[in-house]
């Protein structure tokens, strides 16, 4: 059992913040199951990635977990609350950041956060601290309707952490942001996780998941195909390769060699002996490659 010291108290890995058993959900319009018999657990203090292409069932699952969609079939517990009998007070422990920005365009950034903070029964973070965190402090008194898409997204993101959530749901938190801001957002997620927040990260961006997540679940067609840590997945499904740039009769040639296959190992040794190598580096499989390998489908 791993223990993390944090400002939110001693977090003990092993306790479940989310427990999902045989969850199924369908939309009445078409009676087709968007999520089928899904089961998984998310431990306290963990960053759990929920990965899949558009329409895989990620948002539906998150919708049920956050109470936005009714629980139709299965058993779900979030932050100690049974969602078959949800209580509004559970949202004091939960934060939700949406993929689509949803702030009041006719209110300023400060007013948006001030209003939201007052809805909670628990101590909340200071509005200006939050705005400063994502670089919106200078436009605090501008109406959110005048913001760019990225600025609205950042405002939606910091609003979700206003109540210092124990369980933090993030839906595509870096989508549409420039790399610098995206990196800033990832740092904030790491920091909050270190303070004890459990994170449920829904994304189709495998790089973000690879960087942040302790474990990931691959979901496709409403079914979870696999759950494990990125490292284990790479060990299990990735093939360790060495990429070599070498000269053949004065011409540069690039070749890949497996470190598992004997034939490749012998050939690599020969190449090293001849001394014609210009550049050599190892290459591990990406999560995206593993996803494609496991599900047989791409992410777009």
């Amino acid at each position: 059992m791993i223990e993390k010291e944090s400002s939110r108290g001693t977090e003990k890995k092993g306790e479940n913040m989310i427990s999902v058993e045989n969850l199924s959900h369908y939309y009445t319009q078409n009676q087709v199951f968007a999520v089928k018999n899904v089961s998984f657990q998310v431990e306290k203090g963990e960053i759990f990635g929920f990965l899949g292409p558009s329409g895989a069932g990620k948002s539906t699952t998150q919708g049920v977990l956050t109470g936005l969609l009714p629980l139709q079939q299965g058993r779900v517990r979030v932050a100690g609350h049974d969602l078959s009998h949800p209580k509004r007070t559970m949202f004091n422990k939960i934060g939700v950041s949406f993929e689509q920005s949803n702030v009041y365009g006719k209110l300023t950034a400060r007013e948006n956060l001030d209003f939201y903070a007052k809805l909670f029964d628990v101590p909340t973070m200071k509005t200006m601290d939050l705005l400063e965190m994502v670089g919106l402090d200078k436009v605090a008194d501008k109406k959110a309707g005048t913001f760019s898409k990225g600025m609205k997204h950042r405002l939606t993101f910091v609003r979700s952490m206003i109540n210092k959530p124990e369980m933090w749901f993030l839906d595509e938190p870096t989508t549409g942001l420039d790399p610098a801001i995206g990196s800033q957002i990832k740092d904030i997620i790491r920091q909050e996780n270190e303070k004890g927040a459990t994170v449920f990260l829904t994304t189709h961006n495998m790089q973000v998941a690879d960087e942040l997540c302790d474990r990931v679940a691959f979901i496709i067609d409403g079914e979870i195909k696999l759950i494990d840590s990125p490292r284990n997945l790479k060990l299990q499904f990735g093939q360790q390769m060495v990429v070599v740039d070498h000269l053949v009769q004065g011409q540069r040639k690039t070749e890949q060699f497996s470190l598992i296959m004997d034939e490749d190992k012998t050939r690599l040794n020969q190449l090293i002996q001849t001394g014609q190598i210009q550049m050599m580096h190892t290459k591990e499989a990406t999560l995206e490659e593993i996803f494609i390998k496991v599900t047989g489908r791409g992410l777009e």
Binding site: G63, T66, G67, L68, L69, P70, R88, T89, M90, F91, N92, I94, V96, F98, Q100, S101, N102, V103, Y104, G105, K106, L107, E111, F115, Y116, K118, L119, F120, D121, T156, R159
Partner: protein
């Protein structure tokens, strides 16, 4: 706990109030009230001049002619023009197609009268004219042996001025039923912006969200009704009853709007149902303008008691009990509709 609950409602209400001031619907409603008031005060007269010209030919002895002439002039019959013969009367009536004529003559049987009409008058109108001639005028002549007996059953009966008569219609439509559209627009605007989802993942109840919208509608309804009523009838109205009726009827319109909106996910889809609801509810206005047409089925429409309650509270001797009964009834109805709306929105607001 209760304090916290109402604190959150208050916070949500203040936010909605701010959004309303920044939005268009608030100004539409207030603008409508101002335009209506200005039109009614500066364009529409206190009472429409509906007097009809009476063309009269007196074919009698000079002494009797003088008596009859005085009799006609002493009654409030609007404009009266006397003519020497029937031909002159016909010409005058051709020139003024809204006028009516009467020829009075003496023969062996005594005083006779002939009504000269344009031809479009309904049997009811003809009877009315006959009653007027016989009951009001000829019954006062010596030796008249008519059978028409005119009795005023309610000599102190009150009537609204023509200008004030329009007010109940305005109040019912603008204060009572327009809320139906506007509250639905507010809900769908929040759905479009997605802010409803952010609200749904905060520790607040859906009833607080909906009640806040009702309060906004109430503020707008009360503001516009008080403005219009005070500008048009001054201190003549019962303001206590007006407040009660506005609150009850406005809540009814708004909760009905919420209930209808709960079945749809966009304003475009809801528009037809909302429009139909307003049209159906306004059927009772037929009775308001034609009081003799008030069958039971038309009195069932909510706008019937709304219209007549507003009328009663504008009269200085109006039936306060009738208004109070309706206020109570509509408050209960609003409570039921609100409960149903909350129940439905719990399932559908974020779907």
């Amino acid at each position: 706990m209760a304090e916290k609950t109402f604190q959150k409602l208050w916070i949500t209400f203040l936010k909605d109030l701010k959004l309303s001031f920044n939005g268009i619907y608030f100004y539409i409603e207030v603008g409508m009230a101002v335009i209506f008031t200005l039109v009614m005060v500066f364009v529409v007269p206190e009472n429409f001049d509906s007097s009809q010209t009476f063309h009269v030919v007196l074919d009698a002895e000079p002494a009797y002619q003088s008596f009859l002439r005085n009799l006609f002039e002493s009654e409030d019959l609007g404009q009266i023009q006397f003519h020497d013969d029937r031909h002159a009367l016909h010409q005058a009536m051709e020139a003024d197609r809204s006028s009516v004529g009467v020829v009075l003559s003496m023969d062996a049987q005594g005083l006779q009268y002939n009504l000269v009409l344009q031809g479009y008058e309904s049997p009811r109108m003809r009877t009315l004219l006959k009653t007027l001639i016989e009951g009001e005028l000829l019954s006062q002549t010596p030796g008249w042996s008519g059978t028409t007996d005119t009795r005023v059953l309610e000599p102190d009966s009150e009537r609204l001025t023509d200008r004030a008569h329009v007010l109940p219609i305005y109040l019912t439509v603008n204060v009572g039923l327009m809320g139906l559209f506007i509250i639905a627009a507010y809900i769908f605007l929040d759905k479009d912006e997605g802010v409803i989802k952010a609200f749904a993942v905060a520790p607040v109840h859906i009833w607080q969200y909906l009640a806040s919208k009702l309060c906004i509608m109430l503020i707008i309804g009360l503001g516009s009704s008080l403005l219009v009523v005070f500008a048009l009838v001054g201190r003549q109205a019962h303001y206590g009853l007006l407040l009660g009726a506005t609150v009850a009827f406005n809540l009814f319109g708004s909760t009905l709007g919420l209930f209808i909106a709960s079945f749809f996910d966009t304003m475009v889809k809801a528009m037809g149902a909302l429009y139909l609801a307003v049209m159906v509810l306004m059927i009772a206005s037929v009775s308001y303008f034609m009081p003799s047409f008030n069958p039971l089925w038309i009195r069932i429409f909510p706008s019937y008691p709304m219209l007549f309650s507003f009328r009663e509270l504008l009269l200085s001797n109006g039936n306060a009990w009738y208004v109070l009964q309706n206020i109570g009834f509509f408050l209960i109805l609003s409570g039921v509709l609100f409960g149903l709306s909350v129940h439905r929105f719990k399932r559908s607001i974020t779907v």
